[in-house]
Subunit: 191 residues, 2 copies
DNA sequence: GCTCAACGCAACTAACTGTTGCGTTGAGTG
DNA sequence: CACTCAACGCAACAGTTAGTTGCGTTGAGC
């Protein structure tokens, strides 16, 4: 990401060891409140080395989180709007219910920086997923005046709310219901 | 809550001072990660006294949160389903966007106990608000086979998602949109 | 084989949580 | 009024974790 980094080969190897250790630790504990000492031990690296690269623990966790979020999530292209939304909703559901996902989405109040990360994440995700609606419009499966991002937001919101607040399992029936509501909103008006 | 508490009059006064100090501190910092020393200072009470009543900081915060949540929220009764849902959505929006509400709803990963609190809160809230749908059904404003709790959940979810994840303001237009979607779901089928 | 940045290591400081022992206060009882 | 005993204040303490500092060690590249 930063081509200006001179850093001997050692540097890059250590970077990866640290960040993957952070992720492993977050997944193991289900919390962003990980201990720097644990990360150092898991990465086989001294604590001092970590603090030479990151200002404080927050910066460390933030870097690891950003690294994960940069992994591209493929945009579904099944040939039909229903298929695309179904696949997208399932994928989002998986992310939300995974240990790492839950830790990321729930940790918020303690850091303004993470608020930005969340907002950027969803904005980017909805932006890219809008491609689904664009293709659907070309196929005539979708009204031309549909707000793609809003439609996606309203489809994902119930999944997120149920997983984080209600605590109920994200069963396939519930996911399917959200997809159907989205399809209904995208459908041509009959009146 | 505990009738077996003998406690001289001093006890109850101190209880209230402590809990309200906790709430004030949460509102001020926007976090549940408050410092016990600060609470003690704000309550004009010694730290030891707090630890004599609550096992640890988590128990203290939990008690304060529960005390707040026990304050009854009035169920709207405007005479129309649209009016009731509009008022309900606005109230929920206010809660979600308030400093205290945001702190409560976002703090989650660090404590299993808080997960139960959230679930209980929404379950209780939707249960009581179902009365709105029951009255609407009696007035013929609502289909008889509507799942009241599900309808309310799907109306609230976008508000919560936008406030906590998207970070966008909860403007009246967005709230009104959710109310209209709920009304549409409750409406008699025309086919 | 020389150099210098990256790394390891140990010993700190600082902040916060939770504990302990003891002295002090004050509401209820005789 | 005097006595009692639980509730409270207080100070000092132990334990954990974040973050720092100074110095010795290593290893890639010239």
């Amino acid at each position: 990401m930063n081509a200006s980094t001179p850093a001997h080969r050692r540097g890059r190897v250590v970077d990866e060891k640290i960040l993957s250790a952070v992720i492993a630790e977050i997944e193991a504990t289900g919390t962003l409140s990980i201990k720097v000492d644990d990360v150092a031990a898991a990465a086989g690296v001294n604590k001092t080395t970590i603090y030479r690269r990151y200002r404080d623990r927050n910066a460390l966790v933030l870097a690891a989180v950003l690294a994960v979020m940069e992994t591209e999530v493929p945009i579904p292209d099944t040939g039909s709007l229903a298929g695309d939304l179904d696949l997208l909703a399932s994928t989002v559901g998986d992310v939300i219910t995974s240990p790492l996902g839950r830790a990321l989405l729930s940790a918020t109040a303690d850091s303004r920086a993470f608020a930005d990360v969340r907002q950027t994440y969803w904005a980017s995700r909805f932006e890219k997923a809008s491609e689904i609606l664009r293709r659907a419009t070309e196929r005539g499966e979708c009204r031309r005046d549909v707000d793609a991002k809003l439609l996606l937001e309203l489809m994902v919101a119930p999944l997120h709310f149920r997983a984080t607040q209600i605590g109920a399992p994200l069963d396939t029936a519930f996911i399917k219901l959200q997809v159907e509501r989205a399809l209904h909103a995208a459908a041509q008006r009959d009146d």
